[in-house]
């Protein structure tokens, strides 16, 4: 389903990119509308934090707006876009490490607290597991995490991943393999595995 939507987005993107390159603000607004959710979810998987994901997404589209006229190949827009988003994710992560920032009560937490009130147990458990998986994914080494997100959640082909990250396809596959293996180990250590097993 995600792939179908993605193809539709790409199909629509081409003409919008062309117009945006010529300075059509309206077309650029539509282009942002098409890709905003994808970049947000990519960043969200990367950080497991709504606020950071929103910040990175907004920064990405600001940079894209400023530099879109320098984009040579319209077909490479998708890689270019993910590359900018990934660079911002990396930069933000470095900044977070430097400033030792801790999210005490993010909007995600707020949502979790709200869900505890008056929600069924199943829904609560599902949300807990979701957060646990997101947290496990976040703790993966950066190179593996990026490939896992691009492949699993963004539905990118190995060729596209290699184009975006400027690595060989085999390197992408290898990183994905180790990423999945690392995830399995982490899941085995976590409550999630125990719950699923039981």
């Amino acid at each position: 389903m995600a792939e179908v939507l993605e193809n539709i987005a790409i199909y629509h993107s081409k003409s919008l990119i062309e117009k945006s390159k010529k300075g059509d603000e309206h077309a650029y607004g539509k282009l942002v509308g098409l890709w905003y959710k994808r970049i947000y979810n990519f960043s969200l998987k990367y950080f497991a934090d709504h606020d950071l994901a929103m910040e990175v997404t907004q920064l990405t589209f600001i940079i894209v707006y400023k530099k879109i006229d320098s984009l040579q190949d319209v077909d490479s827009f998708k890689y270019w876009l993910y590359k900018i988003a990934l660079n911002h994710c990396r930069e933000e992560e470095r900044r977070q490490k430097r400033t030792s920032w801790y999210s005490i009560f993010t909007s995600e937490d707020a949502g979790r607290v709200e869900s505890k009130i008056g929600q069924p147990e199943v829904e609560y458990q599902k949300r807990e597991n979701e957060e646990l998986v997101a947290e496990i994914l976040r703790t993966l080494p950066e190179e593996q995490k990026t490939v896992v997100i691009m492949k699993e959640f963004e539905g990118m082909k190995f060729r596209e991943i290699s184009e975006t990250l400027r690595i060989s396809e085999n390197t992408a596959k290898s990183r994905l393999y180790y990423g999945l293996k690392a995830l399995k180990k982490l899941m085995e250590k976590s409550e999630l595995h125990n719950e699923i097993d039981s």
């Binding site: 995600a2 650029y28 607004g29 707006y65 599902k126 998986v133 959640f153 596959k173």
Partner: protein
């Protein structure tokens, strides 16, 4: 088992990026190799668990994408050129506007003896004014003197008329006074009578004043003596009260001392008696 090819094949197979021929070969391997199958199952389960994470809906924040567009002659592809070109053109445009405005509004700059002057009017007017002052200054002074003389003459005429009138009035008054002096005759008897009346009046007035003053002084003295007497009486009664109280107190003290002496003597006597016994 975990060779590079194996990992690559496994990834291709899991993610469906394998040709049908290679797929069949790999499935054959999978059915034969139990370790490989376990590995495959493990990774498949990880993928299933990752599927818990669904895409989150997000509202795109409201924003207007608008670049500040410049006219086509300012659009230079090189950013460095643009940075230099823009301020230069801006300064040039400002200068052109200033020059046009200056021309329309007769803007002028001049340096003369009075200093540097900037203005929006015609400069020729000031030169004309300066020449006029130099040429006609004598005439202006003469005119001013003539006006001044005229004014002084008018004032002098007025003053002369005023004092003439005054003099005539004084002369008339004096002549009238001389005439009346000649007409009035006062005898010595009248004068003696006048002075005698005045003396009598003064004597009477002085006498009345002295009598009134003496009465008032006597009345005041009496009042003062009465008040002093009352004060003395009051003071005397107070002193007597104090003396009486002091005497009573002294008497009481003497009585107490007597009693104490009696008690001491009684105790001494009793002590002596006890010692004797």
């Amino acid at each position: 088992m975990e060779t590079q090819d194996f990992k690559i094949e496994l990834m291709d197979y899991i993610y469906g990026e394998m040709s049908s021929e290679r797929r069949k070969e790999f499935e054959q391997k999978l059915s034969e190799d139990e370790d490989l199958r376990k590995e495959f199952e493990a990774l498949k389960s990880v993928r299933q668990e990752l599927n818990i994470l669904k895409d989150k809906e997000v509202m795109e924040p409201f924003s207007t994408w608008r670049k500040p567009r410049s006219p086509y002659w300012f659009r230079v592809r090189s950013n460095r050129k643009m940075v230099v070109f823009r301020p230069v053109t801006a300064v040039a445009a400002s200068l052109v506007i200033l020059l046009i405005l200056g021309y329309i509004m007769n803007f002028s700059i001049s340096l003369n003896d009075q200093g540097l002057s900037l203005g929006f009017s015609n400069q020729v007017q000031t030169n004309e004014e300066r020449l006029l002052v130099e040429e006609d200054v004598k005439k202006l002074v003469q005119d001013a003197l003539l006006d001044n003389n005229k004014m002084l003459l008018t004032k002098l005429t007025k003053a002369e008329n005023f004092y003439n009138d005054k003099f005539i009035a004084m002369e008339t008054t004096l002549s009238n006074a001389i005439i009346t002096q000649e007409k009035s005759v006062v005898t010595n008897e009248d004068l003696q009578r006048f002075f005698a009346d005045a003396e009598n009046k003064n004597t009477k007035m002085m006498r009345d004043y002295l009598r009134f003053s003496t009465d008032k002084q006597q009345e005041y003295f009496k009042t003062m003596l009465t008040q002093f007497n009352e004060f003395m009486q009051d003071q005397r009664s107070k002193d007597l009260t104090i003396i009486r109280n002091s005497l009573i107190e002294l008497k009481q003290n003497q009585h107490m001392q007597k009693q104490e002496t009696d008690n001491v003597l009684a105790s001494l006597i009793s002590t002596v008696n006890q010692n004797k016994n």
